[in-house]
Structure formats: structure tokens, C-alpha cells
């Protein structure tokens, strides 16, 4: 995760006019793409829990819990599909 952030900062700092234009050109994060899934899951969990939680005080912990649930379930689903592909 820290490597990914460092990579983004380096891209933005090194002569942006010549190499990379924000929002027009994609960032070269092909080697770090897996780290980008975590903020996506947390965003989904945060919106869901903000809509459903009776009190806002519960939102941070519930968001973390739901985010981890989704991450674990996706990992299990991925491992299962990988197993199916490898065995069949």
C-alpha cells in the first residue's frame, strides 16, 4: 500500500507537464492494482452503513467490519474459482 502511494506521488512530482496529465492520462499502476481494491470496498461499505446505521457513531466500526467481510468473501470466492479452474 505504501509502495503504491509512493508511486502515485512520484508520478505526480516528476515533470507532470511532459509525462502525465491528471484526469486525461491513466496512471501507471499496473503493478499495484490489487491495493486499489481495498479503498473501493471501504467506500461501498461506508455508503451502505451510512444509509443503514441508526446512529452515525456506529458507522466507522461497522464500515470496517463490512469491508473486511467483503474482502474475505471475495478472497474465498477467488480461491474457489481458482481451485475449480486448476482442478477441472
Amino acid at each position: 500500500m505504501i509502495d503504491t502511494l509512493r508511486h502515485i506521488i512520484t508520478l505526480a512530482a516528476v515533470d507532470p507537464a511532459a509525462t502525465w496529465r491528471p484526469f486525461l492520462d491513466p496512471i501507471d499502476l499496473h503493478g499495484h492494482w490489487l491495493w486499489l481494491i481495498a479503498p473501493l470496498l471501504m467506500g461501498v461499505a461506508l455508503v451502505y452503513k451510512t444509509l443503514k446505521a441508526p446512529s452515525l457513531r456506529e458507522v466507522p466500526l461497522e464500515t470496517l467490519r463490512l469491508g473486511i467481510y467483503i474482502l474475505v468473501l471475495m478472497a474465498v470466492a477467488g480461491a474457489t474459482l481458482w481451485g475449480v479452474i486448476e482442478l477441472v
Binding site: F23, L24, D25, P26, W33, L40, G43, L51, A53, P54
Partner: protein, 165 residues
């Protein structure tokens, strides 16, 4: 955790609130008086959409080539998604109108490919999907309040007539 579904009254009719909520993420919740939640929803949905655009570039919003992703997900991020799609299409039209082989015939943006394109597209599409969830939540809360008011109205009239007799 118990999830609540509180009915929320609105001064405006629900179709108007739903349209406003669809156009500007978080505004629907603001209109029904859930200010703090509106701020969180707006920040998260805009944050996800802008993050997707930032990592994949404007190429991740493609209403012509990626109709399904745009039509089912991204467009529901509201006015911002429609605006970005308009800018992208204007760039494509400008490039197509330029003479073949000239520098203007190449679009101003750099096409994105691979995982970065996939994740950028997914971030923007999920931002739209989550805004749609917010719109449905707002509609549900307003219509629940309306139903509650209609249920209570006959009983209160009955109590009033009993009191007068």
C-alpha cells in the same frame, strides 16, 4: 446491529427529491434533513468517482464504446458523470473531424488499458450504483412518511368525531 428505516418527511414531492438526489449525490439526504449523512455520502460517492477518473483517465467514461458500464453504473453518479461524458465525447468528435493523419486526429487523452482501466471503470460505475442506492433510500423514506401520515389521518378524524359526539 439493528438497521433502522426511519420515515422522513419532505417539503418537496418525492419525484423532485429523487431527481435532485440523482443529479447531485447526497443532496436528497440533505433535503430530508439528514445533513451529516448527506456530507458522508457526497464525499464518498464523489471521492470514488474522481478516484476512478484519476487512475484511469477520462477514457474510463465511454458512453459509446462501454455502453453497459456507462448506462448501468456510471451515469447514476449524476451531473458530474454526464458532464465528464460530454467532455469525452466532444474530444472524440473533435479528433474525428480533423483530417486523417493530422496531429488533431489523435484524441487529447491517452487511452487506458489493462487493470488500471478496469479499476477506474469499476470505481466510477460503483460510485453511480451507490448513488442509485441513495436515491432509492430517499424515495423509501419519503413514501414511508407519506404512508404513515395517511394511516394516522383516518384514526385522528375518528377520535375528533368521537370527541364532538
Amino acid at each position: 446491529m439493528n438497521h433502522d428505516f426511519q420515515a422522513q418527511k419532505s417539503a418537496l414531492p418525492w419525484p423532485v427529491v429523487a431527481l435532485v438526489a440523482w443529479l447531485v449525490p447526497g443532496l436528497g439526504h440533505l433535503l430530508i434533513g439528514r445533513r451529516d449523512r448527506a456530507v458522508i455520502l457526497a464525499a464518498t460517492i464523489y471521492g470514488m468517482f474522481i478516484a476512478g477518473l484519476f487512475m484511469g483517465g477520462i477514457d474510463v467514461i465511454d458512453p459509446v464504446g462501454d455502453r453497459l458500464w456507462f448506462g448501468v453504473g456510471q451515469v447514476h453518479a449524476g451531473a458530474l458523470a454526464i458532464g465528464v461524458a460530454g467532455v469525452r465525447m466532444a474530444m472524440d468528435v473533435k479528433a474525428e473531424a480533423a483530417p486523417y493523419g493530422s496531429p488533431e486526429a489523435v484524441p487529447e487523452y491517452q487511452p487506458s488499458v489493462g487493470r488500471v482501466n478496469e479499476l477506474g471503470t469499476l470505481y466510477c460505475a460503483l460510485a453511480g450504483g451507490l448513488n442509485l442506492l441513495c436515491v432509492l433510500d430517499v424515495i423509501g423514506r419519503i413514501t414511508a412518511a407519506e404512508e404513515q401520515r395517511l394511516r394516522e389521518a383516518p384514526s385522528s378524524r375518528g377520535r375528533a368525531s368521537e370527541a364532538t359526539s
